[in-house]
Amino acid sequence: MSGGWRVGVDVGGTFTDVIAVNRTRRDTRVAKVPSRSDDRVAGLLAALRAVDLAWPDVDDLIHGTTLVTNAIVEDDLAEVALISTRGFSDTLAIGRQNRRHLYRLDLPPKAVPQVPAERRFEVRERLDHEGQVLEPMDPRTVDEALRRIEESGAAAVAVSLLHSYTNPAHEEALGGRLRERFPFVALSSRVSPEAREYERTATTALSAGLMPLAASYLDRIEAARPADSRLHLFHSAGGMASPEALRELPLGLAASGPAAGVAAAGRIARDLDVEHAISFDMGGTTTDVCLIFGGEAQISSDRTLGGRPLRQPMVAVESIGAGGGSIARLDHGALVVGPESAGADPGPACYARGGSRPTVSDANLVLGYMAPDRIIGGDIRVDPAAARTAIAPLASAMGMSVEAAALGVVRVANSTMLRALRRVTVERGVDGRQCTLLAFGGAGPMHAVELARAFSIAKVVVPAHSSVFSALGCVSARMSYAQQRTLRMAVDEWDAQRLERAREDLRSRLAAPLAAAGCGEGEMAVEEVAAIRYRGQSYAIEIPDAALDDPARLTRDFLDRHRALYGFATGEPWELVSIRLRVSAPSTSGELRPAPVESGGSPSARTPSSSVVSGGSPSARTPSSPVVSGGSSSARTPSSPVASGGSPAAMTPSSSVASGGSPPARTLPCTFEAGATAATPRYDRAALVPGRALAGPAIVEDAWSTVVVPPGATLVPDEAGHLHIATGTGT
């Protein structure tokens, strides 16, 4: 193995973020390049070039991708044939019988089934809910189904038999037969071994429909990959997985991008010893919020995408349709923001690309938070006059100044996002006021402090590398696999043996790909989550680090959680509904703890900056656009790679001011209160000095994001490059 680089690449819809870490050379490089949807593999190679690397230099490449997400949303799925238990092949068409739109008769009430009736086949067989065979599988019906599937021309086959989550024998037997003839076969007992036939069947069919796409993508990447370089993908539950595993279960990539950002947030929360945090990623059209509980991103298994259930362990991101592009309007005496969005095209009025309606971004520009000479996405120069023109009609209708109206737009947008914060915390019984808000993404750091104040949150952290955060999540990932399985075991009918068998089975299944990657059994970490509810209760409560060997302790833990969540607990009998296991390899390759760095340390990696980027390093170059790669570093001695990249000391200031002091780069008017527009200092993020507090009002910016520090708030950069902001309110 040559170069010693570990590289995280997150390919998003618009941009590809990359961060490269070399531990032996103590070097970190970051860059952001436009994504290439026409040729994703070429885009990946371009991302490597942007940090001055070629693939042979890379030991481990960890890759997050929207490939699967897009395919689901755009319904770009292969034709699937489905095999069901006799009597149940219409389950996909029946669904859960509820309609999507309560008051819209014109819209179809539910998604058209992914697999049409002519490709849905049945076999005779039947299990009961305990996995007992009521009717053995009839081989003649199997032969018949196989014959008809071949005739149907389907590209992939999904198998979902009733109660297969308790006993996969029939599905496995069918799978054996199918694999003799078909390259892509998905079994529901492997994809989602949980009760509820519609969700399991839909999930399995979806995964099957993604298999050809995933295989061809992975084939192309593998063809470009040097033999001694390892490739991993970032999966929805916040870890990395091998290409082989994702060929089998491509649905595991459905939330790859958001999961990487949230995983990075979890990492930062652990590094900073923050007990509870909320990740806040605000983009152009949506805002993603996730609770980080005890340093772990919360996982959920019941998400939907494009109207289809995706029953896979995924980071529990709450996504709301509010972002920089959300349109503001007056509606019967109220200022309403969103859900309508100007999107990326035409985009906010200030993009001067044909948008004229006022958006949140326009408000941020009017208020001076966003710099008037800002360049968005490498080529869009914002137009402050257009922003004012867009906000002006709102202002006159409300009888306010343009600035006051813009403040209102921001305030209302924050109150919308507050609902998402409320939901993620209430669902887990966490007092949001005790959380730290971790803000990243393009607009997150701009809104974070005021949003935090509205939620009585005292602390905001804008982490280092906040603009390439998903790539950071990739590079700091551990290899892990997770799955949830339905058990149904009442406390008064405890069957320790059955439980142990189920745990062992899950454990060995999840450990297999880790072992194949060279991880020793003894090195693997196993986390077990138990889902428990009172008998008859609707939802189960998740108990992390579940004491599955000790029902008495499990009882106590359940009662404590129930009391914390709902304020009461009773002595009724409970049942273990399901267990979820995560088996992880140790994070040997990615030690990313921030380490103390002498202040004013020597330059190393650079963060891109909007004005001029000076490289302190041999490969320094002056880029013509703000899409900039990091140069290689000069020698420094931080104890860990991210520390070097993350530490502000490691960043070359873009102004001529030398590190060691931090006068503002410039001063421009900002409005924090109606009628009180005042000159406000703007600091280059790279020039901040660790430990030196910055009192609001102030703006801190780099090429990709703007941190707003309103009056009353105080920002302190730490040595790892994280910006800690005391909001001045809350606990």
Binding site: I94, R99, L102, D128, H562, Y566
Partner: protein, 545 residues
């Protein structure tokens, strides 16, 4: 017509929206708490629950889950409650429970918890949690008494009853309730969940009042009412003036087998409307009666669906509406009549009657007749492990076709949107095996656009002495076609005995079945749109106004 002027408010547009968002978040949170911590299986993903915040006088200002049927109820519950319980009797920390249909209610299983919220010693708001309990006592498990002929047979009637005070649970009152319902432990869980939801809301409201000041919050609430009213007026103004008459028919009243008419006369006059149900049949002997509150909910649903998707179910939205029900009629039967099925059967019939009345204003806006029935079949029996279980299942059917598309198969329409229970859950929790679940092919009505297909699902009874209750409609009067389309196939529930004998169940029946008997549910298909065989192009004329 000119848009109505924006209402005058003394709160600025920004603060108004910030407060409105906070109120909505609070109501949403209440629903989450109930859904996750309550015991009744109906509150499971089925989500048969609602949450609301009202102002000090009981007018709705925010709701959590938007279930059309509950919105009307929630708009009236606290107002009616206050007629019985003056504010002087309320104290901080109180949680009152009630389920009387005549107090802004619908039927006994939907139990409401009401918590007054105080600021500076005065009531400023109420938090209300409505949840469908799996049992409220009465003659049969599940409290759906098909043969009920008076209100007292339907279960425990709870007038406004204080179950919690600032000191905690009022143990005697709680015991009184729990002693009169099946599954006392489960029900206590439901009570606690509803209490917990209102307590969370109280905390958030206190915070909101402290943050903005009572005057501002109250002004914002008044503005929310005004907006709801303005939007309703805009919606009505879009309907051509005139008088429209419509009717639809219930299959029977459970006691006899004569179809029963629901009739409405709609008068649209500018931005106001009257919905007069006086010509609807007299109160029924069986449990298909319902309350004026449910009639109002149905009217609101139809207006919002046809003309005003932005109309909000706030207190002000009812100001331009006059809804007339005749005392002694099906929709205003008085307190002694049974109502349990009226909640989801007659409410749908009211909606159908109003839709059909408004057909002349533009049939393109309407869908043909759909599964406007809960299709309810309720099983009560003992599992092999001795646990008594009640399985309550609603069955969707084929959606009615529209001018530009076929109806979808197996959905819920209009006043309800409750999910089904997966076969794998049914078999794990109840002494029942699901033999098959298929589309009922060919059940959708023919037409230029076809109605959606209904469902065919079979349940095999695995225990002795299973109590089975049916409560469904569209068995006799099928889902109607529109503009020449044909009706969908009617709803049918058949019992196939272990001995092979078949018998069709009436729409409202309580029967007892034994091991090996199979209940075959065939839900109705949707009505077709346009005469069958007519080409699309022949019908592409513009919308009639």
């Amino acid at each position: 017509m000119p848009p109505s002027a924006d209402p005058v408010t003394s709160v600025d547009p920004v603060t108004l929206e910030v407060i409105r968002n906070a109120l909505s978040a609070t109501a949403e949170e209440m629903s989450l708490v109930v859904m996750r911590s309550a015991r009744s299986p109906l509150l499971r993903e089925a989500g048969d629950l609602s949450s609301a915040l009202t102002d000090a006088d009981g007018h709705l200002v925010a709701q959590g889950r938007d279930i059309p049927m509950h919105m009307g109820v929630m708009s009236f519950t606290v107002r009616e409650f206050l007629k019985r319980v003056p504010k002087s009797r309320l104290a901080p920390g109180d949680v009152w429970f009630l389920n009387l249909p005549e107090i802004g209610g619908n039927h006994l299983p939907d139990v409401k918890a009401i918590r007054p919220v105080f600021a500076d010693g005065a009531v400023v708001a109420f938090a209300v949690s409505l949840a469908h309990w799996a049992d409220v006592g009465g003659a049969v498990p599940g409290s759906y008494v098909a043969g009920a002929t008076d209100a007292w047979q339907e279960g425990l009637r709870i007038p406004p009853f204080r179950l919690f005070t600032a000191r905690g649970p009022h143990r005697e009152n709680l015991d009184m309730v729990l002693a009169n319902v099946r599954g006392a432990e489960e029900r206590e869980g439901d009570v606690l969940a509803q209490m917990a939801a209102t307590r969370g809301a109280e905390e958030h409201l206190h915070h909101l009042f402290a943050e903005h000041g009572a005057g501002t919050v109250l002004a914002a609430i008044a503005a929310i009412h005004d907006r709801a009213e303005a939007r309703m007026r805009e919606a009505l103004a879009a309907v051509p003036d005139g008088t429209y008459v419509g009717e639809d028919w219930l299959d029977d009243d459970a006691a006899g087998d004569e179809p029963i008419p629901v009739r409405v006369r709609v008068t649209i006059d500018g931005d106001r409307a009257t919905f007069d149900f006086s010509e609807t049949a007299d109160a029924a002997r069986g449990p298909v009666n319902t309350t004026p509150f449910i009639a109002a909910a149905s009217v609101f649903y139809v207006v919002k669906t046809l003309f005003g998707p932005d109309v909000q179910p706030g207190g002000g939205c009812y100001r331009p509406l006059e809804i007339i029900t005749r005392p002694g009629s099906l929709l205003d039967p008085g307190p002694d009549r049974p109502v349990v099925g009226g909640n989801h059967e007659t409410s749908q019939r009211v909606a159908d009657a109003v839709f059909r009345a408004l057909e002349p204003t533009g049939p393109e806006r309407l869908s043909a007749g759909g599964p406007t029935t809960s299709g309810l079949v309720l099983f009560g029996g003992r599992r092999a492990d001795g646990v008594w279980t009640t399985f309550y299942e609603t069955h969707g059917g084929g959606e009615g076709a529209r001018h530009d598309r076929d109806g979808a198969p197996v959905v819920r329409v209009h006043m309800s949107n409750v999910m089904n229970t997966p076969a794998e859950v049914v078999e794990a929790e109840y002494p029942i095996r699901v033999e098959c679940q298929r589309l009922r092919r060919g059940s959708g009505g023919a037409g230029r656009r076809r109605g959606g297909d209904g469902l065919h699902r079979e349940y095999r009874v695995l225990c002795d002495d299973m109590s089975v209750t049916s409560m469904f409609e569209r068995r006799v009067v099928p889902p109607y076609g529109l503009q020449g389309g044909e009706p969908g196939a009617p709803f049918r529930v058949t019992v196939v005995g272990a001995d092979g004998r078949r018998r069709e169940l009436p729409g409202k029946a309580n029967v007892r079945l034994g091991q090996g008997d199979v209940v075959v549910v065939e839900s109705c298909g949707g009505g077709g749109y346009g005469a069958p065989g007519t080409a699309d192009s022949a019908h592409s004329h513009e919308i009639r106004r």
